[in-house]
Amino acid sequence: MSDANTRIDETVKGNDVVLFMKGTKEMPSCGFSSRVAGVLNFMGVEYADVNVLADDDVRQGIKDYSDWPTIPQLYVKGEFVGGCDIITEMTLSGELDTMFEDNGVSYDKEAANKIREANA
């Protein structure tokens, strides 16, 4: 495994919830990253954010790691969950809530419902 791959693997396995994104959760620098970070922030999910723009090896490496061509990428308990489109669909359908519950990740159910109400 390359150095970047090792670091990615440690980050993914060492945090319950990790978002690889462009920018940071406080200051996303891409609309797609912003949308996923926004959902997690609003739902009060505790997560680690990795800014791929700060490290070219990670920016490419994460795509190879997950066999997924785009960023952002959300991982829960070591498993790749999806990118922006999938997380958006899962948020609106309630599947994201179920996935968090199944994995023992705490989140604000009321906030999740508010997102769904606003997008109904």
Binding site: W68, P69, F80, V81, G82, D85, I86, E89
Partner: protein, 76 residues
């Protein structure tokens, strides 16, 4: 090299000959595709979309295809 919606559809079609495929987008960079295929049944969205992305890998890697909003599902 620019890419257009029919070319994207052909590439996806090569991997999913029997799928129902709709590709939209005419600015040469941003596209939206819907792929409905029986082979998706029982698979997660990640697995479904990895399979579709694989048919477009060359175009994604080369940067020809900049953004593709993908929706995948099995037939109702």
């Amino acid at each position: 090299m620019a890419i257009d919606a029919p070319k994207i559809e052909n590439l996806i079609r090569a991997g999913f000959p029997d799928a129902q495929i709709t590709v939209q987008g005419d600015d040469g960079q941003h596209f939206a595709a819907m792929v409905v295929d029986e082979s998706f049944r029982g698979k997660s969205r990640v697995q479904q979309q990895r399979a579709v992305n694989a048919t477009l890998k060359a175009e994604i890697d080369s940067g020809n295809l900049h953004a593709l909003a993908l929706t995948t599902k099995a037939p109702e």
